[in-house]
């Protein structure tokens, strides 16, 4: 079984198997995208999608509503493939980019 994975509508969606599954304008809790211990990150656009094992991740740009930092991110997990089906990550989950551009995080 093949599952397609892509951005759609110029960054409005992560499309999984030709179905719009994760969209912009959501508020995510993310570590490591700004100086806040836990950013509340408004996703304004999805720049790319990728996969890490069973985890589907999306590169994004957006803004933390705690500190106001606007930034582009490395892929942030948005869902997992379980038994061939996509399961979005819970909206309230704490996420961490697969890789960040901050030097401190590169030491992980």
């Amino acid at each position: 079984m093949a599952i397609s994975l892509r951005t759609l509508d110029d960054g409005a969606w992560v499309s999984v198997a030709d179905e719009r599954r994760t969209g912009v304008s959501e508020l995510w809790r993310v570590r490591g995208v700004c100086d806040c211990p836990l950013a509340e990150f408004v996703v304004e656009g999805i720049t790319d999608v990728a996969v890490d094992g069973r985890t589907v991740a999306a590169g994004t740009y957006g803004r933390c509503i705690r500190c106001g930092c606007s930034t582009s991110t490395t892929p942030i997990p948005v869902g997992r493939i379980v038994d061939g089906c996509y399961e979005p990550i819970d909206r309230d989950a704490v996420r961490r980019p697969v890789e960040t551009t901050r030097p401190s995080d590169r030491k992980r």
Partner: protein, 641 residues
């Protein structure tokens, strides 16, 4: 790490031995995620480019009509992303999540001109086909949107109805061709071109020639990204060329009248740019060659690797105006380009900050900030600019407007880039009777400044990108401001543009007050919010708004504008206009003190996350109650889950 926009589709199944099968991703030796090059056998850099290389342009139409004939469910599930992307070229944009199987349809009306009879056709189509499963509380069950690119948008269009709609449109000289997608979009310009008493050169034949030439031209059908063109010959600057990919602006050289050329403007993606002067003068009969050359240059050198960097503004950033000119000359035109002529920019008045205060006294004859009001045409008749709040008219009103245009004018109606309508060709002796028509009480030629200055994009009602509700909110803002806020007596125009996201379809950066969708927390709860910018506008020296308020809860924005106006009144120099006031305070570093968000008597019913509803105004708006997707008769299609 750069996100390369590479194709993300591969064939192996999820969960097989190599662990990274779906997208071109892998973990490197240090355990970090890396994207990969395109999969073997697929040389297209993105899915969109691959889909375009397979089927694009005019040929989409036969597939579209075939799917329409067989119904929504005939589109193979694994081809829907591709077909919805392609349908855009024919003006159909799949509506957002919760509204599957319904489309927004955009009709391109070059230069905003609706010839006699065409508005009635649009009204009839909206009345019959643009009705969804729920009503909008402000505008009813069916309505037309006039856009900031002088086009028309209808919503809740069903795929199965497209053949009949196309047939009706095309029988009446209208089309949706290239209204969306990666190609020449609707050509904009001065909405009174050819009728303007003061115009420098009649640009309407030029705009229409470009429309005829490049709509459907296979050589220019597949560009790296959208291509927005403005042509204007007026003295006011109302073509808004500065924010287009390609702009022809009036100029004179050695006694010959024509256009100077600018390239690479645009507002989207937090990367606003004004179009750059490439030092080229062109006479009207050579516009087509230069426009085609620049379109071909963009086709050949624009970035197809990364859609986020694909717009022409980024190419001009990279090359500079001088190189654009040189490559255009060397590779894309066969005659010698002339250096730019003398332009008219110092005369510009449109959205130029010259209508308030003392600056108004220096306004050139006929100069105006918009097209609302009663104005004499070159032929002695009049055009009447009617204010359409946020650019949306209920369909009964559109029918009525078509009737009035027939009764009092020639039947022609024109659309402006401020989402308003003009009824043209009204004889002087019919003006009083026309102005007394009841419809004009709602669409006034002399509106309150806040009603007049309001622009809003589509917003979360239908749009996938938007972060907040927009049109109904801006309606409520304008009404509240009209009721509770008084501008200084000598300031009678004031622009407030509300855009739901950074795509900037409401052109927020060129307004007196710029509002852009965001989110924040209020009392611990996530709510819809807006960033607030000040002092943007066009004119001889265009200026983008300065963002001074971040994440202001949407229900506190009217209070912020009220304090802004109070402080403007208190602190302005004698006769100082709003834009000059903002520029002065910006230089003094005091801008952020001008706004003070606060709750007022204004009530906002859309503070919740409207994007998570299937329709923000439905009684039962939960996504799980969505009636979409639906068959042609509106019957919901059951989920297979």
């Amino acid at each position: 790490m750069r996100f390369g926009g590479r194709s993300k589709r591969r064939d192996p199944a999820i969960g097989n031995a190599d662990r990274y099968p779906v997208a071109p991703g892998r973990i490197d030796a240090e355990g970090r995620f890396r994207t990969l090059s395109p999969p073997d056998g697929n040389e297209m850099p993105t899915d969109v480019e691959r889909w375009k290389s397979e089927t694009y342009g005019n040929e989409i139409r036969e597939h579209l009509l075939e799917f329409a004939e067989q119904g929504w469910e005939s589109i193979p599930e694994d081809e829907r992303d591709a077909w919805f992307e392609r349908f855009k070229w024919w003006g159909l944009y799949h509506q957002r999540s919760g509204q599957e199987s319904y489309f927004m349809m955009r009709i391109g009306t070059p230069n905003g001109v609706l010839e006699p009879g065409q508005l009635r056709v649009v009204a009839e189509i909206a009345d019959e086909y643009a009705r969804g499963p729920a009503e909008n509380p402000e505008f009813g069950a069916a309505y037309c949107d006039w856009t900031t690119r002088q086009s028309i948008q209808l919503h809740w269009i069903r795929l199965e109805d497209v053949p009949e709609i196309f047939e009706t449109l095309e029988a009446n000289g209208l089309s949706t061709q290239q209204a969306c997608g990666d190609s020449w979009r609707n050509i904009v310009g001065c909405p009174i071109a050819g009728k303007d008493r003061h115009e420098f050169v009649d640009a309407l034949p030029v705009a229409m020639d470009l429309h005829e030439t490049f709509k459907g031209d296979d050589d220019h059908a597949n560009l790296p990204r959208k291509w927005k063109v403005s042509v204007t010959g007026c003295r006011e600057g109302c073509g808004q060329g500065d924010i287009n990919d390609l702009a022809f602006e009036p100029a004179e050289k050695d006694g010959r009248r024509g256009f100077n050329v600018r390239v690479g403007g645009g507002l989207a993606r937090n990367e606003p740019r004004f179009a750059r002067d490439i030092d080229v003068f062109v006479e009207p009969d050579a516009v087509e060659a230069v426009a085609g050359g620049l379109s071909a240059l963009f086709r050949e050198y624009g970035d197809r690797e990364d859609r986020y960097s694909a717009r022409s503004k980024f190419l001009v950033d990279e090359w500079g105006a001088e190189k654009v000119r040189r490559v255009l000359q060397e590779e894309f035109v066969e005659f010698e380009l002339e250096p730019a002529g003398e332009d008219l920019r110092e005369e510009y008045t449109y959205n130029a900050g010259r209508t308030g205060g003392a600056a108004a006294a220096d306004l050139p004859d006929g100069g105006h900030n918009d097209h609302v009001g009663v104005h004499e045409q070159a032929d002695g008749n009049y055009y009447v600019g009617l204010n359409v709040l946020v650019g949306r008219m209920g369909v009964d009103d559109v029918h009525e407007l078509a009737d009035l245009a027939d009764e009092y004018g020639s039947g022609e109606v024109r659309l402006t880039q401020r989402q308003n309508v003009l009824v043209t060709d009204v004889p002087e002796d019919r003006l009083d009777a026309f102005l007394a028509e009841p419809l004009l009480a709602d669409y006034s030629p002399a509106p309150d400044p806040f009603m007049r200055g309001s622009i809003a994009c589509t917003g979360t009602e239908f749009c996938s990108l938007s972060i907040v509700e927009t049109k109904n909110r801006q309606v409520r803002y304008a009404r509240w401001l009209k009721e509770h806020v008084d501008l200084p007596d000598d300031v009678d125009e004031f622009h407030v543009h509300l855009s739901g996201c950074t795509a900037s379809c409401a052109q927020p950066q060129i307004a007196d007050v710029s509002l852009r969708g965001m989110k924040t927390r209020k009392d611990g709860e996530p709510v819809e919010a807006l960033d607030i910018g000040l002092g943007g506008g066009l004119g001889e020296d265009p200026r983008f708004a300065e963002w001074v308020g971040q994440r202001v809860p949407a229900d506190e924005v009217p209070g912020a504008i009220a304090t802004l106006i109070d402080r403007f009144r208190d602190r302005r120099a004698d006769g100082e206009g709003f834009r000059a006031f903002i520029e002065r305070l910006d230089a003094e570093g005091d801008l952020e003190e001008l706004i003070e968000p606060a709750e007022t008597s204004y009530e906002d019913p859309y503070m919740h996350n409207t994007k998570m509803t299937w329709y923000p105004y439905a009684d039962d708006d939960g996504m799980d109650t969505s009636p979409a997707p639906a068959r042609a008769d509106g019957t919901p299609i059951p989920s297979e889950d």
